[in-house]
């Protein structure tokens, strides 16, 4: 797959609350000022395939031998709650990694299709027990930070206010350790953590069809809109399916970030966000020509 230079406009259709800001009638044009306006897709990720970038997929696991993964799942862990009261978790090896639902494989395959040279790591944080699931999820982010991942893709979130502080602390720690957290916002328009923190790259689905077309929203908390509707994705047991949800939009942005970080490893998370803004389909370049 190659980067598309001709991003398409989404069709005019009613979209859910978080996605509605990416519909054509509400999409706002962004002005990229000064040198930022000179950043284009060719500079940002032209020629990159995500070489050497380590991406954690915090989800239901990755089916390591799925044809769409092409053997790029390099390792994995299963996060379990050891002690509910203290919040202690344990990490079990998952090598080669497996998937219990198919969703994590779908996300991993989307990232792989965009950044085929990136290394994928499976972080399974959901299982047969809902008790302590927020702690498992937090443990997954902790693992990504401790293992020095470059990017963590998360299709999960929690809306439980008692975990606001815990996830905020983790998001800050990830940011200061140069780990980019890419999070799907919940399809239900309600507070969800950590997707709504400023250091996190939050993503909702737009109604387009091109994997490289994404938009920046100047009225956050949801900052980016990417492909997430009727996406053909990998699924359990080497199968495929057609799926819809914000959780399929996030890995598109995670894949693009993998391309950027492979080509420009010196960029910090906020610089990468700036590059993403500069290359968004609704950003007007510095030369005054209209946004793509």
């Amino acid at each position: 797959m190659t980067p598309s230079e001709q991003p398409e406009q989404p069709q005019a259709r009613a979209l859910p609350a978080w996605s509605s800001q990416f519909s054509p009638d509400r999409l706002q044009e962004i002005a990229a000022l000064g040198p930022i306006g000179e950043i284009d897709r060719q500079w940002a990720w032209g020629g990159s395939h995500g070489e050497g970038v380590r991406v954690a997929v915090i989800d239901s696991g990755i089916e390591h031998d799925h044809p769409a993964i092409e053997g790029c799942a390099r390792g994995g862990t299963v996060v379990e709650v050891e002690d509910q009261a203290s919040g202690k978790v344990r990490y079990l090896d998952d090598n080669p990694p497996a998937d219990i639902f198919g969703h994590g494989t779908a996300c991993a395959a989307i990232i792989h299709a965009i950044a085929p040279a990136a290394e994928l790591y499976s972080v399974r944080v959901i299982g047969r027990d809902l008790t302590g699931k927020a702690l498992q999820f937090a443990g997954g982010i902790r693992w990504a930070i401790d293992q020095g991942m470059s990017i963590a893709n998360m299709s999960l979130s929690t809306s439980r206010s008692e975990y606001y502080g815990l996830f905020h602390e983790l998001a800050d720690e990830a940011y200061f350790h140069n780990v980019m957290l890419v999070s799907a916002v919940n399809n239900i328009p309600a507070p969800s953590y950590p997707s709504l923190y400023s250091s996190v790259v939050s993503v909702a689905a737009h109604d387009g069809h091109d994997p490289f077309t994404y938009y920046y929203n100047p009225s956050p908390p949801v900052e980016f809109g990417a492909l997430g509707i009727d996406v053909e994705v990998a699924w359990l047991n080497k199968s495929t399916s057609v799926s819809t949800g914000n959780s399929f939009a996030a890995p598109h942005i995670a894949g693009i970030i993998a391309l950027i970080r492979a080509k420009h490893p010196e960029l910090t998370p906020f610089q990468v966000k700036t590059v993403l803004l500069a290359c968004a389909a609704n950003t007007r370049p510095a030369d005054g020509s209209p946004a793509t």
Partner: protein
């Protein structure tokens, strides 16, 4: 304490009376009538979406599984009462993550949940599933299956199903509040039994009064149940704090010398 009737026997008799009375007043029947309401929600959803089937499964906290409580359309009889573990299928994923999902066109040889599909004899081509939430907690999953006039469910469908799911969750929340009320009454009676010689008399009076909706005791119990429910919804830490405060208050009251008793 009564001098003629053994304590345990009296206790059992009083509880029987209380429970019979509550049931007669319809309080204990509410969950059943709520199932009917959920059934209506499911049927309405199936018709509005033009779906071949729809269902609601609820989370059983005890064994961490999802049980199909109401269903409509294809596969209904097979699916009702069926339990699936949380690590299986689309419903398991939605309950685990709280994320709605639409999925279709799964390749022929692999199904959404093969064991489940085989046992129901019904294999859907497209599924839209959304969580049922009370406050910020997942309590179940609502699904619509096989959109008749389209190959898949879209984002608008996802949003619309969310509206149905909120209605269903509201009905369940109300049922839980009423169950909570009944529990508060039982607990109150239990406290009274430990309270002294007037216990048995007061027990009967409270049981009667509790069922008269105009009585202050009933309204107080209702207010207390509502209060406890709201605090319980605020989160585990808040709930523990509430229990600690109430326990502390009780211990303090117990420790006070009781003049004239």
């Amino acid at each position: 304490m009564s001098e003629t009737v053994p304590d345990n026997e009296r206790l059992a008799a009083e509880f029987r009376q209380l429970l019979t009375s509550i049931e007669a007043a319809g309080v204990a029947l509410l969950p059943a009538s709520n199932l009917e309401l959920l059934q209506t929600v499911v049927e309405a959803a199936a018709q509005i979406f033009g779906a071949a089937a729809a269902s609601i499964c609820l989370l059983d906290d005890a064994d961490q599984s999802l049980e199909f409580k109401v269903a409509f359309g294809a596969g209904r009889d097979e699916v009702l009462g069926m339990r699936i573990p949380l690590d299986r299928g689309i419903a398991g994923y939605v309950a685990s993550t709280g994320q709605p999902i639409a999925i279709s066109n799964v390749s022929q040889d692999v199904r959404f949940n093969q064991e489940f599909a085989q046992s129901t004899g019904y294999v859907p081509a497209s599924i839209l599933a959304t969580p049922l939430m009370i406050s910020d907690r997942v309590i179940g999953v609502m699904e619509v299956l096989d959109k008749i006039d389209a190959v898949s469910f879209g984002m608008q469908d996802m949003e619309l199903l969310g509206v149905f799911a909120r209605q269903a969750a509201l009905a369940i929340e109300q049922a839980q509040q009423m169950n909570g009320l009944a529990q508060v009454l039982v607990n109150g009676i239990d406290q009274l039994l430990n309270g002294g010689a007037e216990g048995p008399t007061l027990l009967s009076e409270i049981a009667d009064e509790a069922l008269d909706h105009g009585q202050a005791e009933y309204q107080q119990a209702m207010a207390l149940a509502g209060l406890l429910f709201e605090i319980g919804q605020a989160g585990e830490a808040e709930w523990r704090l509430c229990i600690d405060v109430l326990t502390g208050l009780r211990d303090y009251l117990r420790s006070r010398p009781r003049f004239g008793r």
